[in-house]
Amino acid sequence: MRFPALIFKNMLRRKTRSAFTVLGISIGIATIIALGAVMSGMTANMEGMLKSGKADLVVAEKGVADMVYSRINDSRIGEIEVLEGVRKAAGVVFSICPVENNPFFLVWGVKNEDLPMVGMDIVNGSAFSQEDELIIGKTASKELDKKVGDKLILSGKEFRITGIFETGVPFQDKGVALPLKKLQEIMKHEGYVMMIYVELEEGADIEGVCQLIEERHPDLVTIKSASELGKVDKGLEIMDAASWAVSLLAILIGGIGVTNTMMMSIYERTREIGVLRALGWRRNRILSMILGESVLLCLFSVPIGLLLGVFGVKLLMLHPMIKGFLEPMYTLDVFAKAFIVAFAVGIIGGFYPAYRACKLPPSEALRYE
């Protein structure tokens, strides 16, 4: 028999208690998995949105708390387009509008000629040319059961679908796009765009162009990747912090459960620990055994938490309001985070009981009844 086998068998002594402890920690792990997957999905969506099409970078208003509050005068598009290294600049607006029965539908306002720039490739039909026309994302067309030529009511106005587009970004493919002017009018945003997509000349230095834009337009900010989104969108950062806070709370509760379980185990096994010490076991070995049991309990909760987390997200995704916006992504990072947290909870939650156990004087432990 090897030492890890002893740890494993010890854990099975009180199967029901161990099972409930594992379940408790699993809920914490499930929270980490679910929130992590949702956050990864949102970040990937934002990254996809920024990197879609031919654009190399995005320009937004500096200092805004969220991209939706960004307002850039239309005239800036032309001013940026003439800068050295810039091939093309395209202004866009976006909004959440009610579409038929869905109150939260992502709507893009883009000029017809800028559609390739923002990555909206027409896969069926053609681009819009009139104010009362729009194109619909591939996923949205399936979900709403709409095809080219059908009508769509958006913000109480009727539009004709002229084409179906695909960007490869789930977030965008679940929306629609209509002429920039029309959406500006609906949003009462005339003369302003929210973002400017910028395509660079071949071989242009992206850092240099960003610097140039920010120098010439100090009220604007350039974003090259999702990691820079914090410059204009605090939402992701706030949500990330909130997801950590919720995860930590869940883990704290799970950790207390582990400590409680291990403390009970120590009390029940006080005499046995005395015997082990009498048989020559060093303090460190007692410490390793108890910590090992505690870590093992937590590691067992990883696969269970994983299943619970995935199941929880699937349930969440059934909600029509969330369905269109969230596309969870189960990245390796999310699983690694869950595994590391479980391991840490095992060590932290088991440390005090293990310390108590190894500090027990053997003669006293043997007298314990």
Partner: protein
Amino acid sequence: MKNVITTRNLVKTFEEGRVKALNGVNLEVFEGGFIAIMGPSGSGKSTLLNMIGGLDRPTSGEVVVDGVDLCKVKNLDDFRAKKVGFVFQLHNLIPVLTACENVQIPMFELKLSGKERCKRAEKLLKLVGLEHRKDFVPTKLSGGERQRVAIARALANEPKIILADEPTGTLDSVSGDQIVHILQRLNKDGRPIVLVTHDEEIAEHANIIYHMKDGKILESNP
């Protein structure tokens, strides 16, 4: 004959000196000796055994076991692992482990491979007549069998001395006799044994019987 255990003026007090468990105990156990310690509850028998076995330290006095002055040893774990084999009234076997696995428990402190541990445990179970029960968990063994597993476990690290604290206390007379015979056999093989018991019949198997009262050894019956 060489002294294996020597205690000189051994004193152990508890509760800041209010309780004197041992009050100047002088004891000598020679190589191959088998002594029994008898006395009423609270007379200090188990405390004396704990001092000899390095489970506790005396308040004053001296304990020398196999040439090791225990008062001078900083960490007694190693001493217990290599020099002493304990047998207790309650066997305290780990319920989820088989007899063979239970015997291997003390061997974790030795540098032995899993195979070597297993081989040694099987040999020890054979010594106590339980080789056929090696894969049984404690709940499937009788009280006497469990205590025999505990003896095999005490022998796991080939200790110099065996300290047995009421090893037959919870057993019927037949099982109790079996245990004493195993201890006698071990003693004949050269291992000194210190046996604490309430049972005179059991004590009579020893070479010398010491009686304790109020933390002192009163007399010996050679």
